[in-house]
């Protein structure tokens, strides 16, 4: 993981986290919007502008890869680098949570 990736994605936005998390399985942008809405019980609805922008940026940074296009929808999946970034982020959040819990 190079410095650019670290700087941009650690820590990452909640949106970026959910997108990477959902792309452990192949999916398209709108599919991710729906999954995140279900997972968060409607609390989070990613707008198409944010989704489209995030996907194209993450593809450029090599965190996800384009698999195929179906019915004008691009299907992506997480890459090894994306997985590594997701794990790093998860560890950071775990540490944050643990410290907060101990101090409460």
């Amino acid at each position: 993981m190079d410095d650019h990736i670290k700087k941009v994605y650690v820590p990452m936005t909640e949106t970026a986290f959910y997108i990477l998390f959902c792309l452990k399985e192949p999916n398209h942008g709108y599919g991710i919007v729906q999954t995140v809405e279900q997972l968060t019980e409607g609390a989070m609805k990613i707008s198409p502008g944010t989704m489209y922008g995030s996907l194209s940026k993450m593809e450029k940074d090599g965190l996800i890869q384009f698999l195929e296009e179906k019915d004008k929808r691009k299907i992506y999946q997480i890459t090894n680098l994306g997985m590594e970034v997701l794990q790093t982020e998860l560890k950071r959040i775990e540490r944050l949570y643990r410290i907060a819990q101990e101090g409460m």
Partner: protein, 144 residues
């Protein structure tokens, strides 16, 4: 069909102001027909309704037009038109998160504005160069 025109300049940094203005126009019974020329907005008389307007700027979206517009369509947004690289969308304000103005996160906004700015500058650069060269010729011409 009753229409009305408004001249209202926004800079490319003001997307949220422009979105809010278009929404308030629709709430008072004027829906956007098109924007053209130099900040020239044309509205059509309609029933006052709460519609959200969204402006989006995406270089990649211009390259993959079908996929880009399909994603907005899937999410319930109607594509109105493109103007100076920005795509204009609207949808009824039934969704709370969107109605509260959470159309994009800060990260996306920064990225979007950067792209718009870079594209403007890259257009402006050659133009300034041409004007510069033309001025040199004029200056050289007036010397003789």
């Amino acid at each position: 069909m009753e229409t009305r025109h408004e001249f209202k300049p926004f800079t490319h940094f003001d997307v949220e102001k422009e979105e809010a203005w278009l929404r308030s126009m629709h709430q008072s019974g004027w829906s956007l027909l098109n924007v053209s020329g130099f900040c020239f907005y044309r509205f059509e008389k309609c029933a006052p309704e709460d519609f959200l307007y969204q402006l989006d700027y995406s270089r990649d979206g211009r390259k993959h037009r079908d996929v880009y517009l399909q994603m907005f369509k899937d999410c319930g947004w109607e594509h109105l038109q493109d103007y100076l690289g920005y795509s204009y969308f609207r949808k009824p304000a039934s969704d709370v998160a969107e109605a509260e103005g959470l159309l994009r996160d800060e990260e996306t906004k920064r990225w979007m504005i950067n792209q718009a700015f870079e594209d403007r500058v890259s257009l402006l650069g050659p133009l300034l160069f041409i004007i510069g060269v033309a001025l040199c010729f004029v200056a050289a011409g007036s010397m003789f």
